[in-house]
């Protein structure tokens, strides 16, 4: 995998991946600040800051920004996650300078007009209200809230209604000023480029960006779960129940990352996994059953997601719990482990087919502070996972007796069945 890394005097980390198959280029500026860095009073602050970046700068109005990117057929987008925020732009490579300038402009010089703040506050509140029309979004929000309590991971980065109403223009400006710093950012350029020329252009465009003091960020520890914590969210029109359950998982830099990646592959990833085989292929109870570790800076959830018609929802839930318990007590077989390894080894070239895929691996290494040789050692790390590693990881991380269980359904259809598992909290939307 060919790539270059560099650091500007301002502390801005630069990653470049040269790939000449198509005349295209993609640039991403990742700022190492996300919703986890908001104070408790203002959930949604980091997100609305990203949304407002492209609504006008010192020299360009919102419409001019849109017009210039649309005219060349390019894209300009923003994203706010739990741990980081990004501005991303793509275009044919002949427009490289245009999009590099645009990205620098919107990330560094937004004006945050009062009028635009109100537009986005209203739009975001409507988007949060609309979540109630989608059982997957409802389940996601309630599951996080039950798992994380007061921690900022308790709500999606888009924030809360209450938080959005409380956000002031001053706070928006201050948040941007405090966190959008070169020494808190990673700039990635991938595509049909030339390293020297690209680096020179980056230096010119971002040269004036001054280093600042990145605030010390002390993050709340995540809470512990005791027993089953069950909630039914009542949405009376549903004929199919959304099921989400899990417990606290791991952070991205966890030493058991590779063991758990393989374990999850065996348990709940793809058509050969235990969950899919049992719940879908054998029993026909669902169309989809999967599990995953959402790895973040801090411990993210280990979750199982599935759904089944209300009549069989509890049966499905019990089956999933049963599979989890079996995994906890019986572990995996050597054959399963070998098969998971051979998937990752064989699949590796497919996971680095595009420059964007390559870049995302390098960003992970940089952002989570993984070893410099992380990418070169990736397959060695996969191959090195032993049965003992898997057993140790299962023992430490899987906890089928202490789980958060979120069910979104017509509550009267499933309430009695759910009660057999323990105390049930019933919530209206």
């Amino acid at each position: 995998m060919k790539y270059r890394k560099s650091t500007l005097d301002s502390g801005l980390r630069v990653i470049m991946v040269e790939h000449h198959e198509l005349p295209i280029v993609a640039i991403e500026l990742l700022v190492k600040t996300g919703s986890v860095h908001e104070s408790r009073e203002e959930p949604g602050l980091a997100h609305i800051v990203t949304q407002l970046l492209r609504e006008g700068t010192h020299t360009k109005r919102s419409l001019e920004i849109s017009e210039s990117i649309d005219f060349i057929g390019g894209s300009l987008g923003v994203d706010c996650g739990y741990d980081s925020s990004s501005v991303m732009t793509t275009a044919l490579v002949k427009h490289f300078e245009t999009i590099l300038d645009l990205l620098s402009e919107v990330a560094r010089f937004p004006v945050f007009n009062a009028k635009d703040i109100e537009i986005h506050r209203d739009k975001t509140i409507t988007t949060i209200l609309r979540e109630k029309d989608n059982k997957t979004s409802i389940a996601g929000r309630h599951f996080s809230e039950m798992l994380y309590g007061e921690h900022p991971y308790a709500h999606p980065p888009i924030g809360t209604m209450k938080g959005l109403k409380a956000i002031s223009r001053d706070k928006i400006i201050r948040f941007h000023k405090t966190h959008y710093l070169p020494n808190n950012s990673i700039l990635t350029v991938v595509g049909d480029i030339n390293y020297e020329k690209t680096l020179a252009e980056i230096r010119e465009t971002f040269g004036g960006w001054k280093k600042g003091t990145v605030p010390e960020q002390t993050l709340l520890p995540v809470p512990e779960i005791d027993g089953y914590k069950i909630r039914i969210v009542n949405k009376p029109d549903l004929t199919q129940t959304e099921i989400r359950l899990g417990n606290m998982g791991i952070a991205r830099d966890d030493p058991d990352y590779f063991a758990l990646m393989l374990l999850n592959h065996i348990f709940g990833r793809g058509p050969a996994s235990r969950l899919y085989t049992k719940v879908r292929s054998e029993k026909g109870l669902t169309y989809g059953a999967s599990s995953g570790f959402a790895t973040r800076k801090l411990r993210g959830p280990f979750y199982v997601r599935t759904y089944s018609k209300n009549e069989t929802a509890i049966e499905t839930l019990l089956l999933v719990l049963d599979e989890l318990k079996k995994l906890k007590s019986g572990g995996v077989t050597e054959e399963e482990l070998e098969s998971a390894k051979s998937f990752y080894v064989g699949h590796y070239p497919l996971s680095i087919e595009t420059p964007a895929q390559i870049a995302s691996k390098i960003i992970v290494q940089e952002f989570y502070g993984l070893p410099e040789n992380y990418i070169d050692k990736y397959l060695d790390n996969v191959m090195a996972v032993s049965m003992e590693d898997i057993d140790g990881a299962i023992k430490r991380v899987l906890d089928p007796e202490n789980l958060v269980i979120t069910l979104v359904s017509k509550s009267e259809d499933i309430l009695e069945g759910a009660k057999a598992l323990g105390e049930v909290e019933l919530k209206e939307l």
Binding site: L63, S66, G73, K123, L129, R130, Y307, H347
Partner: protein, 428 residues
């Protein structure tokens, strides 16, 4: 003015046909040791009839339930063990199966696909279980989804006789009543080498690949393909409207017009219109609805590219409090009227063309994506490279063409409007 990016795109395909009628389309790319192997069957929901709607899709599920030399669900397991991923999808005009995997495993994928084309196991038990899976899929995609409900209502209102009027997943009652005999008959008549195309891209050698495909598929006998009579949709004579009362926080709107089939010359022009209206934040309707009126959360135009005539649809998602469906409907309708009375500007046209060109190039980044473009293009227009040639149509489109096309299709009698209305404000 336009620097021809398309000329920089190298997509050399080679074609071959086996004696049994199986068509091969191959594209070599040795930049990475990987391949995408795809089998496209020329059958989809358009080949169904009332009573067995959804059979193409249910049958696609059955293709994973074992064949002569492969156990149920083993197909995916073997592919994964060898570093690959596999899946399939069914659409109105086609059904496709694919494996993306290391180049060294080519023969494995070929062998597995040939086995299920020739010797599928169809049993009562697997059908019973897969029927339940598909019903859960329908509950997820349609019955418990606003997007699904809107789309189903739209096509079943705009179409009266053509099979596009039912959803690809089929009506629930039909999914329930499809029999094992129906599946066997469907398999016999549609799953045959002379009704399929193999698309293979990546790190392959042309001659060697043909001989591998020949080895595994060559002995599969062709089927006697019957000329199906697919009902033609009569020209819509008057405006149609349907209101659906649903559990939703906000109203939604879809305004649709009948348009011709994918191979028709008006399609590229309609696509450009789609971009002028909603392509990017500077587009006409996006600016008006999202920024100026702030009346909804999103607005998007889509243009069907189907083998038979489809729809041009503008969907407005989540109309905000303080705004009405009537107000938003007239904004949408006025934007279409304006296309008939005023020429679009040169800059707007050029912008739309640039957007089309860029999205084409970005869509060619992986073997899999290239294969998909080729397969869709072939199934819908008969030309595997039609999607690249279409660039020329975009470039030659004029403001006059836009006006002509707008006048031709955006008429009240050709319009179908679907509205999702909240039953009550239950979220309060």
């Amino acid at each position: 003015m336009h620097i021809s990016t398309a000329e920089q795109i190298k997509l050399d395909i080679k074609e071959h046909r086996l004696k049994n009628g199986l068509r091969l389309i191959l594209a070599e790319d040795h930049s990475s040791p990987i391949i995408s192997f795809q089998v496209w069957y020329n059958v989809g929901s358009r080949n169904e009839r009332p009573g067995i709607t959804g059979i193409s899709h249910l049958f696609e599920h059955m293709m994973f339930k074992g064949s002569k030399n492969v156990e149920p669900e083993e197909h995916g397991r073997i592919i994964q063990q060898n570093g690959g991923t596999d899946n399939a999808f069914t659409a109105k005009d086609m059904t496709a199966y694919f494996e993306n995997l290391p180049g060294s495993q080519l023969e494995l994928a070929v062998r597995l696909e040939a086995d299920r084309m020739a010797h599928l196991r169809l049993t009562t038990d697997t059908l019973a279980s897969e029927r339940q899976v598909v019903k859960e899929e329908r509950r997820m995609r349609v019955d418990n989804s606003l997007v699904g409900k809107l789309s189903e209502a739209l096509y079943s209102t705009a179409f009266i006789s053509h099979p596009y009027r039912w959803p690809v997943i089929g009506w629930m009652s039909d999914i329930d009543s499809i029999s094992l005999e129906d599946c066997k008959a469907f398999y016999r008549s549609h799953y045959a080498p002379n009704n399929a195309t193999v698309i293979l891209l990546g790190d392959i050698d042309f001659q060697k690949t043909i001989s591998i495909v020949e080895k595994h598929f060559g002995n599969i006998p062709p089927a006697e393909l019957v000329d199906e009579v697919i009902p033609i949709e009569n020209i819509q004579q008057q405006e149609r409207q349907k209101d659906l009362f649903v559990d939703a926080s906000f109203p939604w709107l879809a305004v649709a017009y009948h348009i011709p089939e994918a191979a028709h010359d008006d399609i590229p022009v309609l696509e450009l219109i789609g971009n002028i209206l909603t392509g990017g934040r500077s587009s006409r309707l996006y600016r008006r609805v999202i920024y100026e009126d702030q009346s909804a959360l999103s607005v998007f135009a889509s243009v069907d590219n189907n083998k038979a005539p489809g729809l041009f649809v503008i969907t407005v998602n989540s109309i905000k409090q303080g705004h009405t469906l009537e107000e938003v409907t007239s904004v949408v309708n006025e934007s279409l009227e304006r296309l008939k009375t005023e020429m679009v500007t040169e800059r707007e046209l050029e912008k739309a063309i640039n957007q089309k060109e860029t999205s084409l190039v970005f869509g060619l980044q992986t073997n899999f994506a290239r294969g998909m473009r080729i397969g869709f293009s072939l199934a819908r227009t008969g030309d595997p490279l039609g999607f690249i040639k279409k660039l020329e149509n975009y470039r030659h489109a004029t403001a006059e063409d836009i006006q002509e096309v707008a006048k031709k299709y955006f008429t009240p009698e050709n319009r179908t409007t679907i509205r999702l209305l909240p039953k009550e404000k239950w979220y309060l």
